[in-house]
Symmetry: C2
DNA sequence: GCTATCGGATACATTCACGTATCGGATACG
DNA sequence: CGTATCCGATACGTGAATGTATCCGATAGC
């Protein structure tokens, strides 16, 4: 019997995302999640056994969605012309719900740094995402008539771009008015990308 | 009467740092901190009123120490000659207890993103730290016979360097073997710094 | 449509962390 | 020294979040 079940789980996960983003993992009670989802704690314990399990389930769903969306974007871009500036501009754009994800994934990252099992899980997902990013960035550079300078591999470059994105977001969310998301990317990525690539 | 008092507070703060780094803010009980420090909860409530207060006290102490250390480094460097590579190398170095600080400050940042009051506090501290960094970087660049290219201000550049540092650390701590701390800095900072500065 | 099973609600007991109030020992001061 | 005050320990009460056990309604198979 499984008609309601997936829906219930999905709603609980949606609610958990909201709750964790609003109050953090430690700061949300199981009942918070249930209230947001429109259930009681009975429903929760019928579907999950601990708050941690819910957290991990949320991460897995989120990871799958991010990857899926990313693959679609990569596929959709096709053969369009690009420049270094265009690549930088694309990296300076942010979804509306980026903030919510940022809060939850960063907290997950923290737990992963403390817990080897979670770290493996996170590393695996990140590797898949990076592979897509490497593919996408490689295509874009090729279309722009560029290739990495000697000593620069795309994998590292992607890691660098991710680091910049995450680090810049942290500052932007602490001081949204002083540093709107994308500011640092727009200002520095063209120079950085130009410096690590060459014609060819 | 104040002989034991500062010592007790210091020990509680040390213990809190350990505990928060190990289990996160939400995940540590006040008693955890007291046990690590070798006291009972009575000592805690005699010195602090809430766990949040302890957290802020810890943060303030850390901020003061970092600033102090930073100023010393700036003073010690004096007029020595530098290159872009030397600056990059300096930014690629990490304390042993950097990891502990990273865990605690990142969690604090998350709470600050959620709470405007904490965000102001954090922004204030960060601004002081950035001001020192701007001064130091300006001196180093001058000694290297460089100045920022038009359109690049040092303040933004420092923000960028901090973003890179934090973002890279996150990846390094999740996969220490795949990406030891400093890897990305060594690989990309020379190019980045070279691209955003010019002789003068 | 009847029934067996499943999913979620309700009610309860328990655990756990918290905060306070009080006590005993140590320290600075006269 | 003696004493007043401060500091940390101990013991207790409280509230909140948790987990479980049971119940009721809904759903799928016959």
């Amino acid at each position: 019997m499984t008609k309601r079940r997936p829906q219930t789980q999905a709603r609980l996960l949606d609610a958990a995302l909201e709750a964790f983003a609003a109050n953090g993992f430690g700061g949300t009670r199981i009942e918070d999640v249930c209230e947001r989802a429109g259930y009681t704690r009975g429903a929760f314990y019928s579907n999950f056994s601990t708050k941690e399990e819910l957290f991990f389930a949320l991460f897995d769903r989120h990871a799958a969605r991010v990857l899926e969306r990313f693959e679609k974007q990569a596929a959709a871009l096709g053969d369009s012309r690009v420049t270094v500036e265009a690549i930088a501009a694309a990296l300076a754009e942010f979804d509306d719900d980026e903030r919510t994800w940022y809060l939850v994934t960063t907290e997950f990252t923290l737990s992963a740094i403390r817990d080897p099992a979670a770290a493996r899980r996170l590393a695996e997902h990140d590797a898949r995402l990076r592979a897509e990013a490497v593919r996408l960035l490689g295509e874009r550079l090729e279309h722009a008539g560029l290739r990495p300078r000697p000593g620069i591999d795309l994998e590292s470059l992607v890691r660098m771009l991710i680091a910049i994105r995450e680090g810049a977001l942290a500052q932007s969310y602490v001081e949204p008015e002083a540093l709107p998301p994308g500011t640092l990317e727009r200002r520095f990525l063209p120079a950085l990308l130009g410096a690590v690539t060459q014609a060819g």
